[in-house]
Assembly symmetry: C2
Homo-oligomer: 385 residues x 2
């Protein structure tokens, strides 16, 4: 096991009816900014429940946080926070809204241009406004971590930052609020959570038995419950299992004490920034090829994955590995997320542009062994056509 | 899945060499009280490393915290804290030292007799001194939770309390510091952690798939690594896996959203208070009989335990259940912890006294279904002879 420093102070209020607890979670007397997206919360009852719970608080609104939240939009929110002397933020939505709120929370208290937060990956954050989250879309884990990804539309750049100052104070997870999610978002969410686990699990063994068992438990749960969320969308326990799994997939726990990869995510970010694929779509496209290309470095864990997650025990090693990767691909497809670049209209000619931006962003030595060079990234993308 | 409220702000600094991080974890300028036990930390190098890291801090000492820490001893520590205006506590030791430090932290700031903390199970705690922990004995999980158990020697009472005010601010877990533990403490620690998982796992199904998988992962790890800690005491990864497992066994995570039992612990506490058995010895004695007596209420989870933890799939249900319980007993014995009351010199005539104190402490309806009456407790103890 590797040394680690684990810290996660976010309080999780989980279950049906928990939105009402906002009344006591949001500090009395706070000037609250409600941050949300495109308005789906106005149709599924979440907005009304939130506002009812906040009766007695001073609440302003900022709507219009887009998927892959943009610096341009978030800067308008920061202007509003400063002008209206907001001192508490409440993110209501999915990972994009929560990621955006983290940027608003830190950016509003920064003296320099908030874009520097992305350039410095959060190292220049010294303070952030306190905030909470009401999660409506299980996927990214942002509700219980200190990371955020923001896109600058003008320059097609998508960068991440981390800071212990931007843990949500609390997150409310009510699985019944996810019944009405569009099929595409359900599938994306499950694939996203699956990929998060894989980035922390599918590296090389360091004899971290608990982390491995936990990661495998999350993968097995997604495999068991994901398809049910599509076939039986109003099953509370299915939604609850997916929601809690997605949170635990990226709250720092399974990644503590083990090597991590994240090369799939880095290439995926560029595909989203350049060609506007959904985040999960990019992961479903890149990850299978990433594992095939890097099979030797990941052999031991691929075999463990094959046995413990897919129950593949027969045949020679390479057969089991290929079967496990194929099963993963089939699972992504079963969740409605296509796994080839061609499925999204991309062709061989579109790969060069990805490599240009990977180079520009210094993504030259990615992965747990820092051996994912531009040449490897090219091979992965070509295999994903 | 049941609704839950999960919150755990303790920072974990894990790995070899982490004691040095005390230098920055303990606030500059704090008046620190080092709280420890019988002096083993003076022989294994921990004391010297701690003092070296705290050079530059004002450090007082309180030693002599005993196994099953006593109110009487802890009140002397509280007197010292008040007299010397201590404002930060550092527990260095195992669960007893950390439990005791929680009581000191809360009791020192209480206006009434600190024993009321035990009588009220922590409900009267409004503030506590901040404290950290350096763990030397993986077992109780106290290093990352908000619970504590204190014994009043004069009255043979052993009570628990909980409060979100008594989470350690940080806990340092260096597995290499556990190499020198006596065999008895290694065995006790593994059995204690195993029992903690079981109290939260072995109830009835609520379709909480992640919690079940996590619990099973912890049990499997203890089964795989526990015996190695006895046969190969200087294996770092073995010690690391046991240490992190014991912490995760009782940090609130696997118990969030599921029913919990704890009847074994309640009877065990009385056995320790009356007859001075080690805590883990009481669990090893009581738990197998507890599962046998309450087999019907726990049938579904016992079958899951048999299959997933012990790989028992053949034969009829009752055969599989009995085999799983027997395997658990054999595992406890393999860890050097005897599983019969008779192994500790206790006889049928000693059972009545246990029932008298269970009744006195109102332990009349224990367990996840509140159906562990005094009659059930008697049956469990008789079966444990």
């Amino acid at each position: 096991m590797l040394n680690f420093d684990f810290y996660n102070p976010t309080q999780i209020l989980f279950g049906q009816g928990q939105i009402a607890s906002l009344a006591k979670q949001v500090p009395a007397g706070a000037r609250v900014l409600l941050v949300y997206g495109g308005g789906s919360i106005k149709h599924n009852g979440v907005f009304d429940e939130v506002m009812a719970a906040l009766a007695g608080h001073t609440v302003a609104e900022f709507s219009g946080i887009e998927p892959n939240p943009s610096y341009e939009t978030l800067m308008r929110a920061i202007a509003q926070v400063r002008q209206e002397k907001i001192d508490f933020l409440l993110a209501v939505g999915g990972g994009s809204v929560i990621d955006g709120t983290k940027f608003i929370a830190a950016g509003a208290l920064l003296d320099e241009d908030p874009w520097t937060i992305l350039e410095k990956h959060g190292a220049n954050i010294v303070a952030a406004l306190p905030f909470g989250a009401v999660l409506t879309l299980p996927a990214t884990g942002s509700e219980m971590n200190s990371a955020s990804v923001v896109t600058r539309r003008a320059t097609h750049e998508k960068f991440a930052f981390m800071s212990r100052k931007v843990y949500p104070q609390f997150a409310i997870l009510d699985p019944s609020k996810t019944y009405s999610l569009p099929v595409r978002q359900v599938g994306n969410g499950v694939v996203d959570a699956f990929a998060h686990v894989m980035e922390q699990y599918m590296t090389y063994p360091v004899n971290a038995k608990v982390q491995d068992r936990f990661a495998e438990g999350l993968l097995l749960t997604l495999i068991e419950e994901g398809p049910k969320a599509l076939s039986d969308p109003d099953d509370y326990d299915v939604r609850a299992n997916i929601m809690w799994t997605a949170t635990l997939a990226l709250n720092g726990l399974i990644g503590a004490g083990v090597p991590q990869d994240w090369a799939t995510h880095m290439i995926g970010h560029e595909l989203t920034a350049l060609y506007n694929l959904d985040h999960a779509q990019t992961l479903a496209v890149v990850m299978p090829s990433m594992l095939r290309v890097r099979k030797e470095g990941k052999r031991a864990k691929l075999l463990q994955f094959a046995e413990r997650v897919w129950n593949l025990k027969g045949g020679d090693e390479d057969t089991r590995i290929e079967a496990a990767i194929t099963r993963m691909e089939e699972f992504f497809e079963q969740m409605g997320v296509k796994t080839r670049l061609g499925d999204y209209g991309l062709k061989a000619a579109d790969i060069d542009a990805v490599l240009v931006v990977l180079e520009k962003h210094r993504m030259l030595k990615m992965g747990e062994n820092r051996d994912v060079t531009l040449a490897v990234s090219r091979k992965v993308l070509e295999m994903s056509l």
